[in-house]
Symmetry: C2
Subunit: 358 residues, 2 copies
């Protein structure tokens, strides 16, 4: 896997020291039996020559590329930077590289993206599946990052619990009539978040759930949420399933003359890049991507290294080991981040400042 033109190789080190390449290999990998001082000398020589092992050579021999594939469902998802960074870091810490692939946002299914990665010879896949899709058996271990309620899931944030935390926060602030706003009703993650919210809201609290995507599909991307109307009915808080949605709600309310959190509280999810810098800063729920990534990567690597024996030469026989990896810890807690977009519920009778629409 390397364009190691002039680079020194094992043979160079070996001949420089008058030993065999096998010994050099053993010394550097610490596997075979090599005397301590020879190891020392070899290490030194390797450093001196600036030796970098050839991934291609190693991969060819060992059958492992040292590269993991990261499959994103929709790269437009603003959570992507966090995911990519966390995964890259976790993989890197374990000596692996990360090859990315996305479904290009369109018709091309995630199957194609997976296929491309497999062809590139990745040792394993980390898949953030497209809303609710399942992936069939592929030729390598797969770690799925979705939501604990998804079957076959490996690791993810505890979205349900995140929803509970947000709901409890609003409940504590005295909100009695809350609008739950989702985007795509087909998304497992979003359903869990909303499910958690509902579960945490007492019976004395009135709530209504609206899914945006179906509305948008009919009304075009600029379709208004008709929030002012909803607030007139007494809603004092809008709990959304994403900071992006929260931002939309926030600005729409502000434009309509409502004060946040004075008249209406707004919450998001995911703690996206813009969330702390808008005014008011968004109250949201943060997921520990670093931890999730670490767990996913470690579980994946365990499966990869464990699978070595499976390298059968016999024709493909049914494996008892499932493709999808299971991790010890499958759900990582989310953290409530309270900022300025939430506050005490507005006193009973709703006030509509100036009912103008932009």
């Amino acid at each position: 896997m390397a364009a190691q033109r002039t680079g020194p190789n094992l043979t160079k080190i070996a001949s420089a020291l008058g030993v065999s390449t096998a010994t050099v290999s053993n010394a550097l990998s610490g596997k075979g039996r090599v005397s301590a001082d020879l190891v020392q000398k070899i290490r030194q020589k390797a450093d001196e020559l600036g030796y970098v092992p050839s991934n291609a050579g190693r991969a060819l021999r060992t059958g492992r590329s040292g590269v993991l594939g990261l499959v994103l469902p929709d790269i437009a998802n603003p959570l992507f930077p966090q995911i990519a960074q966390a995964m890259e870091m976790a993989a890197s810490n374990n000596g692996y590289g990360v090859l990315i692939a996305d479904s290009r946002g369109e018709v091309t299914t995630q199957t194609d993206a997976i296929g491309r990665l497999i062809e590139r010879g990745v040792d394993g896949l980390i898949v953030i599946p497209r809303r609710g899709t399942r992936i069939g058996a592929v030729g390598c271990p797969v770690a799925m990052v979705d939501t604990p309620s998804t079957p076959g899931n490996t690791v993810s944030a505890d979205h349900w619990n995140g929803g509970e935390q947000i709901a409890r926060h609003l409940s504590d602030l005295g909100h009695k009539k809350i609008l739950l706003l989702g985007n795509d009703p087909a998304s497992n993650v979003q359903n869990d978040r909303i499910g958690g919210m509902k579960a945490a809201l007492g019976h004395d609290i009135c709530h209504q759930t609206i899914w945006l995507e179906p509305i948008l599909r009919n009304g075009g991307t600029t379709a208004s949420l008709k929030l002012p109307h909803l607030v007139e009915t007494g809603v004092t808080a809008v709990a959304t399933v994403s900071d992006l949605l929260a931002l939309r709600v926030l600005t729409e309310l502000q434009t309509a003359g409502f004060r946040v959190p004075g008249h209406v509280s707004v919450t998001g999810f995911d703690d996206l890049i813009f969330s702390p810098v808008v005014t008011p800063a968004l109250t949201t729920v943060h997921m520990d991507m670093a931890q999730i990534a670490e767990i996913a990567v470690v579980a994946l690597l365990a499966e990869i290294t464990g699978n070595r024996a499976i390298k059968t030469t016999t024709p493909p026989q049914k494996r008892t080991v499932p493709d999808t990896v299971m991790a010890d810890t499958s759900r990582v807690p989310m953290e409530l981040i309270i900022r300025s977009s939430t506050g005490p519920a507005f006193p009973y009778q709703t006030h509509v400042p100036n009912g103008e629409t932009l």
Copy 2:
């Protein structure tokens, strides 16, 4: 580079058809001389067996991995998804994969990230340099994506021209007093954008430039921009260097009771994911990432494939070919996207609705 356990290889196809592996290789790559109908038969057999070439084997032999490295300066940059997607797509179209690396946002410099990619054997690098840094000679071709005014730049959007377009737009709307808002004065890109704005503003237009980052460093992340005060002085438009900044300004103004674009017009840059969905939707400038990526990748690949002859066995001698690749087209035009956050300048005497501060 592959864990091709049971997968069929060239030998399998060859023996199945009673020919040599060399012939199979030639047939599939179309390089050697093979009769038309034998090519046909080999192709068919390959499909039948589901043959996938081993990257490891190929890489080892050819010295090329078929993988490009993408180095991001700061993954927190919300432009990242667009970049990553565009690069991945461009590379994929050319039969290459993309390995990502970021500087982890901290101390670890981008040099480390580059090093990791080189060690993984990438054939070339696409570097979006950290504000103003230069990268030294590395062992492979590099395409830099920054701004045309940066020495060594390969391709980028024409940020200067983007600034001009925005400024002209505001000028056309009758704005006479404009605040130019940047973030990091050390960024070449941002300087170009602001430079373009200034250049396009006539002498009858008053403007002032403020850099946010230095202010924030002293006042903490929550430091207010004191925008209300500025608006009192007669500013009717704020032209920022990024949608993120624009969003910040927008929400801060709205919270302070100003109307956008009624009282103040706000513009951004980059057309980030949230820009169309906030209210009012942001007027901004869009860069054609797909085109930039395509140019960068093609230029890089040209250098890579052209360099083949350089695979000298002789000791490292000075190369006349520079590491950094140049493309024919180095600047890609930006596109002004007019949405709802800009409008005619507010009539001369500034109106301050309710001077309350959050």
